[in-house]
């Protein structure tokens, strides 16, 4: 499936995205100097690796039928649950990135640390609250005061 995805993606990038996103200036005469040249080479390389992967997989499956290689492990319930957990955590990270724009960096960071610690099983609530408040604040002070990084204050608080 990965190999098919790669070949399909490479095709979309080559025939759709590159012509759409890269406008080659008319003064470019040599194809090797074109701004689209390197991306096209890399996409073709990616497609070829997808095809190589497919061929290698087919050879491996043929080997399995003749008993030469070990079969793939079957995914279990844990694998499905694990992927759902990872996806959910990643979505929370996206929500965090979105929230920083509106609420500033400290409040979402406090909620992020506290929420993740509690959800993933830390039982000491006092420690959760302390770490959730202290860590983002201390790191904020380090960057903002010592390194003069202007962190976002949040559009809602402007």
């Amino acid at each position: 499936m990965l190999s098919s995805f790669l070949v399909l993606l490479s095709g979309i990038i080559y025939w759709v995205i590159i012509p759409w996103q890269i406008s080659v200036p008319p003064q470019v005469r040599s194809p090797y100097l074109s701004p689209a040249f390197a991306p096209k080479v890399f996409v073709i390389f990616l497609a070829l690796t997808g095809i190589m992967l497919k061929i290698a997989t087919l050879i491996r499956w043929a080997g399995q039928r003749s008993g030469k290689t070990e079969p793939e492990l079957q995914p279990g319930a844990d694998a499905e649950k694990g992927r759902a957990l990872v996806f959910g955590t990643w979505v929370v990270c996206c929500i965090y990135a979105f929230a920083v724009k509106w609420f500033g960096i400290i409040p979402p960071s406090i909620l992020m640390i506290g929420g993740l610690m509690l959800y993933f099983g830390h039982k000491n609530r006092l420690r959760v609250v302390l770490l959730a408040v202290v860590v983002p604040t201390v790191v904020y002070l380090f960057f903002a005061r010592l390194a003069n990084v202007p962190f976002p204050q949040g559009l809602l608080f402007k």
Partner: protein
């Protein structure tokens, strides 16, 4: 040369540099001891904190993390049989059995001495070799440099681990993703989809942080929730010293030849891009076993075995910087991250670095040598406290790591967009882990991609579009032949034996 050395000493002897070395070493030992925290991840996280430091201070701090972290990995390897870093995998073979016999402290002592001595010797080799290679590298033109880049892209294959094709896929992704942004020759936008934030391309720091730290966080938290996490804390009672557990002078002298051999083997391997510390450790281990008077002890708790593994993996630390400093080509993912550090400081690694910033380079070389002495002192004193950090629960550690990632990514360009880059690359990194696609080739290709394109363009402008220029220049032809031979060699060796995946 003397005046540059003196200038380097002046840059080095500031309290800020010494403070940063101590800080880096302490952080490196602690992080190296934590299973689940890789050095590339640690250095990526530390990068944003170095923005506002002077070059020698910043690089010393990061090198302190790097060198001390390689030693720190041995702590978990010896005491709990889990390597804190991939480079410590060979240390488990004899280190863990020693620990099980109640000689954990002795094993840690020999590991510390082997690490420091080997690292010191290899740093001296680095200082001498780097300067000579830099002189030679100045004579290389764009045509030769392009051929070297092509050869370097074969590094991708060598860091692919077990699956060469998946390594090439990762490399292809890295090459393509690096083309996002403004084309430097014509000034037109590529793959920006109308977003101004992408006009400068994807920033390397959020990409590194996202690729190394975020997937690890997702996986560690997932394992915690599903109850798949092993209890990997270090029991500090095993570090209580007793008379019988101390390393004797005789035992140390017995391992000294192994340590020196390890530093030389590590140096020879470290200078070759893409090989890394773990193979150096195993190669020195096997050589040491062949030449040992007591080979039967290997695998059952041999101090020489621990010394061999540690000296091999630490011997790589210094020379692995040679291709980075002299040619701007990172040899593995950790030096790829260090390349980011140099770029942040306005130091472009390559032959001109030794022309324009030779005083800073000497300052860094001196720092490298001093770091070893600091590792020796700090390693002995902080052993117990570093071990205690392994008790930090994962559900406490990794949310904090994520927040550090977010702050650090933002601080690069004061851009919220970089937090999004970190999160999305983190998702991509997880998908790569899911499909067993290694991350190291992605990073190296991402860094080499602009060099590839610029090298090709400059060469063709010089030759007026004549592609045969790469075959008519002798050095270029030599590297292209080496590239073909390297590919053939890699394909043949990967068919024969599995290689530890460098992730």
């Amino acid at each position: 040369m003397i005046e540059h050395l003196l200038a380097g000493l002046m840059l080095f002897f500031q309290w800020k540099v010494l403070f940063s070395i101590f800080g880096g070493v302490i952080a490196g030992i602690i992080i190296g001891a934590l299973p689940g925290m890789t050095l590339a991840m640690a250095i990526s996280l530390a990068l944003p904190f170095t923005f506002y430091m002077e070059p020698v201070v910043a690089i010393s701090f990061l090198l302190g993390i790097y060198k001390a972290g390689v030693y720190g990995g041995s702590m978990a390897a010896i005491l709990i049989g889990t390597p804190g870093t991939p480079a410590a995998a060979a240390t488990i073979i004899d280190g863990y059995p020693l620990s099980q016999k109640g000689q954990g402290k002795k094993a840690l002592d020999i590991a510390l001495y082997a690490s420091v001595i080997s690292d010191f010797i290899s740093d001296i080799i680095t200082v001498v070799a780097a300067i000579q290679i830099a002189h030679i590298a100045l004579k290389i033109g764009p045509v030769e440099f392009f051929a070297i880049i092509i050869f370097s892209l074969t590094i991708i294959a060598s860091v692919s681990g077990k699956n060469l094709i998946k390594g090439l896929i990762a490399g292809g992704m890295g090459l393509l993703l690096a083309t996002v942004g403004m084309d430097t020759m014509y000034g037109i936008m590529r793959f920006t989809f109308g977003k101004m934030e992408l006009s400068a391309g994807l920033s390397i720091i959020p990409v590194l942080i996202g690729l190394f730290a975020v997937p690890e966080m997702l996986i560690q938290l997932r394992d915690k929730k599903l109850g798949l996490s092993k209890k990997t804390f270090i029991d500090t009672r095993s570090l209580a010293s007793s008379g019988q557990d101390s390393l004797t002078l005789k035992e140390f002298r017995g391992a000294l030849r192994t340590i020196i051999r390890g530093s030389l083997i590590g140096s020879a391997i470290g200078i070759i891009p893409g090989v890394g510390a773990a193979p150096a450790a195993f190669i020195n281990y096997s050589q040491s076993k062949k030449k040992s008077k007591k080979p039967e002890e290997y695998g059952h708790g041999s101090l020489e075995g621990v010394a061999a593994a540690e000296s091999g993996n630490n011997g790589v630390c210094g020379p692995t910087l040679i291709p980075l400093l002299t040619l701007g080509i990172p040899g593995d993912k950790t030096t790829a991250v260090l390349l980011g550090a140099f770029m942040i400081q306005g130091l472009t690694p390559g032959p001109l670095l030794f022309q324009k910033h030779i005083n800073i380079i000497y300052g860094i070389f001196i720092a490298m040598l001093v770091i070893n002495i600091v590792v020796l002192g700090v390693g002995k004193v902080t052993l117990k406290w570093a071990a205690m950090t392994s008790r930090i629960p994962k559900e406490v550690l990794f949310p904090i790591v994520f927040i550090l990632c977010a702050y650090g990514s933002y601080a690069v360009h004061n851009s919220l967009f970089d937090i999004w880059v970190m999160v999305f690359v983190g998702g991509l990194g997880y998908m790569m882990r899911l499909h067993d696609i290694p991350q190291a080739p992605f990073v190296i290709a991402f860094i080499l991609s602009p060099l590839f394109e610029n090298g090709l363009r400059r060469s063709l402008i010089m030759s007026r579009g004549d592609l045969t220029v790469f075959f008519t220049h002798p050095i270029s032809l030599a590297f292209l032949i080496l590239t073909v031979l390297a590919i053939v060699f890699l394909v043949c060796t990967k068919k024969k034996a599995p290689v530890e995946t460098l992730r």
